[in-house]
């Protein structure tokens, strides 16, 4: 174990949603390279509290990279410099002594700041509520092995389903778009045989709810780079394809019903 010394942190502080924010500078003399980035912030907070000052508010929970609660812009990158890694899994051994590190909240108009580094990502829940599910009320499910699912299909669905809902993709996108998040859920459910019945209805509802809250996709690909689960932007193509189809399919259905 060795130590990283003389770190300068420039951290965004904002007292509330409508307050004026500012960067404040904090010095950390030494921290072990085994510490995670959030443990570094824990140290800063303990020092602030001991000085009678208010600690920095930030979100974190599982600290295993799976719950999606944490998320910071570290030196301008969602979750920091290491690929496929959530903020809580970023360790100080990836930094060097004397580093100046800028820490901001996830930046997107759909994610308003609550305080300091904590943002409100509930717009994601609105997208899922509009159609990110398979309607299967408890009780009537057939035997789990009734419908075989080819392994490559199950694997592809799982690749998309790994999304942790952290919002790094939105924060990394110059347009503040949530296409990677939405498409990951759509592709997870639309690939599976169980998801076919609601495939087009789901796609249409989720895409349109997404558009109410988030920006447009202009194929920068920043989202894939930022994703701690390395979800491929291929899922966005799947979403677009199904969205186009949904407009036709659903119109046909509407015409029949009227």
């Amino acid at each position: 174990m060795s130590h990283i010394k003389n770190i300068t942190l420039k951290i965004w502080r904002q007292d509330g949603p409508s307050a004026q924010g500012r960067f404040e500078t904090y010095k950390v003399d030494s921290v072990t390279d085994e510490a995670s980035f959030l443990e570094l912030l824990d140290v800063v907070n303990e020092n602030l509290l001991n000085d009678g000052k208010e600690p920095i508010t930030f979100d974190s929970d599982c600290r295993e990279g799976i719950c999606g609660t944490c998320g910071l812009m570290i030196n301008g990158q969602s979750h920091g410099p290491e690929k496929s890694t959530a903020t809580c899994q970023l360790h100080m051994r990836k930094f060097t002594s004397g580093d100046v590190i800028t820490v901001e909240p996830f930046r997107a108009s759909a994610f308003p700041i609550l305080k300091d580094l904590m943002v409100d990502r509930s717009a994601f829940d609105r997208i899922v509520e509009s159609g990110g599910f398979i309607t299967a009320p408890t009780g009537g499910a057939p035997d789990a092995n009734l419908i075989p699912i080819p392994k490559p299909v199950a694997d592809a669905a799982m690749d998309s389903a790994e999304c942790i809902g952290c919002g790094a993709c939105v924060a990394a996108c110059p347009n503040g778009a949530a296409h990677l998040f939405t498409a990951a859920k759509i592709s997870h459910l639309n690939l599976l045989p169980q998801g076919q019945a609601e495939r087009y209805k789901r796609t249409e509802a989720m895409v349109e709810t997404m558009n109410e809250h988030f920006g447009s996709c202009t194929n920068h690909g920043e989202c894939e780079q930022a994703c701690p689960k390395s979800i491929s932007i291929d899922v966005i193509a799947i979403m677009h394809k199904d969205y186009r189809k949904s407009k036709l399919k659903n119109r046909k259905e509407l015409a029949r019903n009227k």
Partner: protein
């Protein structure tokens, strides 16, 4: 023999149905009272916590037509700590044709729990386990599959069959997202009103029955009352009382503890599970410990060097100078011995100076044999994401050097006492999932937590809740203007302003760390009368300091330090009860190991004569004065036997 009162004598029944263990659940369902579909909307149910148990319960109850309000302190239900479960979920499907059955899963769970669980509940759990898999597949959970498209299984500790379903190393995530999506559907349809970033701070009772809850809004700081006909606490376990654990940072006992203080008995708090395969602590800033899934023990071999002064790196140590401890001690289960037994074997090695790593605080978990046998791609397919996670945290590549692991606090089998219907000793207040004590006895088997959470939420509470509500039809629940709510609101306000007004010098984290150290040192993997008495001397003294020297900067609105203070306060009180429970239980069983009670070979020595019961603690106003009541456990289907995995 102490003069403990039985719950029966206090008028509290465990409501175990009559009949043989196979017929109890069936018979119960045939006899229970139902609520007409059109009448369900007249009942409001408050679901606190939205992990596996809470999300599945809230969604299912809303599907049935109840008016549901769900509460989470997270910003979204999808963040609940169920999400971090890695390895899998058990079900008695017998898809592998390897001799599994409902009876065998039932037997393994009772034996795995060291005969300290209620038979009737465990049998029901095994029965509904098969429905869970069907349900989750229908919802689109992408479980691992064989090339033919059928579901794949693997083995977990304490079982000799392959009954564990999994989704890579993220089974908990996929199951939680499945349940979350069902919940989200109901939120979208208006069946569930969802409250995020609110924390339950009290249960309100009127005439001894559930009337609702009081919450604190974590963003605005507002204290609010919510009334309902029933309250479901699905709020997880209390492992964070040890400070360092595999639990998430925000996991806490507050909801369960506040219900306890309002009259819900707290059962077997000393039954805490130490998971054998976690990444060892590396430094003083450590905020939590990370689990490495038990599934790794399917292919990983646990060993330590035979020589205490071994200096060579793992790959330089020849085969004959290694001690494969689990394979040697427990040949028939080998590396898949249950968690409590594997943890103690690792601890004995480290305590005797055979530990590995820079701090000599771990044992090896070695995959080289599996890599040689199966090739790296197959091992990567099975465990790739876990290997990556290990490398991110430790900086070492487990394909090249063995992992270093050590036991850590992981799960709590104890929790709120519940009857067969999952109702606590407060009528109308229920506890589901890890928050209750019912199914795992003194030790939980791997891949059974996900099973229990979903069983309780999807397949038990939707039945048992109706039995309570049906007779209350057209009797409105007391509203939030009832004096009992006002009183609880005032108490909650006083409590949180109280923390702010101490204006001392120390952070809640400081006290939490100190408390955790006492708990781990004196009430951890091994306990003695002496160590527990020491803990019971030190915790109240530290608690007094907490009440005098706490410092909370900022104000009542969005203040994570204030949130933490309330949680640490409750951990202090629980910690005292936990140590008292450990002191009173003069036997070793499952995760509760009292050094005084062991066989010559170091195995746990149970005392069925005096302790074949669940301890159900009754609040008296001071955790040092709580009263221990008991529910005797009767074993009709399975004979009490010394648990052997040799």
């Amino acid at each position: 023999m102490s003069n403990w009162q039985t719950l029966e004598s206090k008028g509290i029944s465990s409501k175990i149905p009559k009949g043989s263990v196979e017929d109890k659940w069936l018979g119960y369902k045939e006899d229970l009272k139902l609520v007409n579909p059109n009448n369900k909307r007249k009942f409001k149910v408050l679901v606190v916590g939205t992990g596996l148990a809470g999300a599945s319960a809230a969604a299912t109850l809303a599907e049935l037509g109840y008016e549901v309000e769900a509460f989470t302190f997270h910003d979204s239900p999808r963040r609940a700590h169920s999400i971090a479960a890695q390895g899998g979920i058990n079900a008695a499907k017998n898809y592998q044709g390897d001799g599994d059955s409902v009876h065998r899963l039932f037997y393994d769970t009772v034996k795995g729990g060291d005969f300290r669980a209620r038979e009737s509940n465990v049998h029901r759990l095994a029965e509904v386990s098969v429905n869970i898999i069907d349900q989750m597949v229908a919802q689109g959970v992408p479980f691992a599959r064989e090339y033919g498209g059928l579901l794949d299984n693997r083995s977990f500790g304490g079982a000799q069959v392959s009954r564990t379903f999994y989704a890579r190393g993220q089974t908990g995530q996929q199951l939680l997202l499945g349940a979350y999506q069902q919940l989200a559907r109901q939120v979208g349809l208006g069946g569930v009103k969802l409250w995020t970033k609110v924390e339950m701070v009290d249960v309100v009772t009127v005439d001894g029955k559930a009337a609702g809850i009081v919450t604190r809004d974590l963003v605005s700081g507002e204290i609010r009352s919510h009334s309902g006909h029933a309250v479901l606490l699905c709020t997880g376990g209390y492992g964070n009382v040890f400070y360092l654990s595999t639990n998430a940072m925000n996991c806490n006992v507050t909801a369960a503890w506040r219900a306890h203080r309002k009259g819900a008995y707290f059962a077997n708090p000393c039954f805490t599970q130490i998971h054998p395969t976690c990444i060892p602590q590396s430094d003083e800033t450590q905020s939590k410990l990370t689990l490495m899934s038990e599934s790794l023990r399917n292919d990983g071999r646990v060993w330590v060097p035979k020589d205490r002064d071994e200096k060579r790196s793992a790959d330089q140590i020849p085969e004959e100078e290694r001690d494969y401890i689990l394979e040697r001690l427990y040949p028939s289960y080998g590396n898949l011995a249950p968690r409590d037994i594997s943890s103690r074997a690792a601890k004995r090695s480290v305590d005797s100076g055979l530990g590995v790593g820079p701090l000599k605080n771990g044992v090896y978990l070695d995959f080289s044999a599996a890599i040689n046998r199966l090739g790296e791609p197959v091992v990567a397919e099975r465990y790739g994401n876990l290997f990556e996670m290990y490398e991110r945290i430790s900086g070492e590549n487990p394909y090249k050097t063995p992992m270093r692991i050590y036991p850590a606090v992981h799960y709590t089998m104890g929790g709120l006492w519940v009857d067969y219907e999952l109702m606590t000793s407060i009528p109308g207040v229920y506890a589901l999932g890890e928050a209750n004590f019912s199914d795992h006895g003194a030790n939980r088997l791997g891949a059974s937590a996900l099973m229990q959470g979903l069983a309780d939420g999807y397949f038990v509470i939707p039945y048992t809740l109706g039995n309570y509500l049906a007779p209350m039809l057209n009797k409105p629940a007391p509203g939030v203007d009832h004096p009992a709510f006002k009183e609880a609101e005032q108490a909650a306000t006083a409590r949180y302003t109280g923390y702010m007004n101490i204006k001392g010098t120390r952070s809640p984290d400081y006290f939490h760390r100190q408390l955790g150290k006492i708990m781990w040192d004196f009430c951890g993997m091994e306990r003695t009368k002496e160590s527990l008495e020491k803990a019971l001397g030190e915790i109240p003294a530290l608690y007094e300091e907490f009440q005098k020297d706490l410092r909370i900067p900022g104000d009542m609105a969005l203040n994570t330090t204030l949130e933490k203070a309330g949680r640490v306060d409750d951990f202090f009180q629980l910690g005292m009860l936990l140590c008292r429970d450990a002191l009173e239980r003069e036997e070793s069983c499952g995760g509760h190991f009292r050094a005084e009670y062991q066989y010559d070979d170091g195995e746990a020595m149970r005392n069925d004569e005096e302790f074949a019961h669940a301890a159900a603690w009754e609040w008296t106003g001071d955790p040092m004065q709580s009263i221990r009541n008991i529910e005797p456990l009767e074993f009709e289907a399975i004979h009490l036997a010394v648990r052997s995995y040799k």
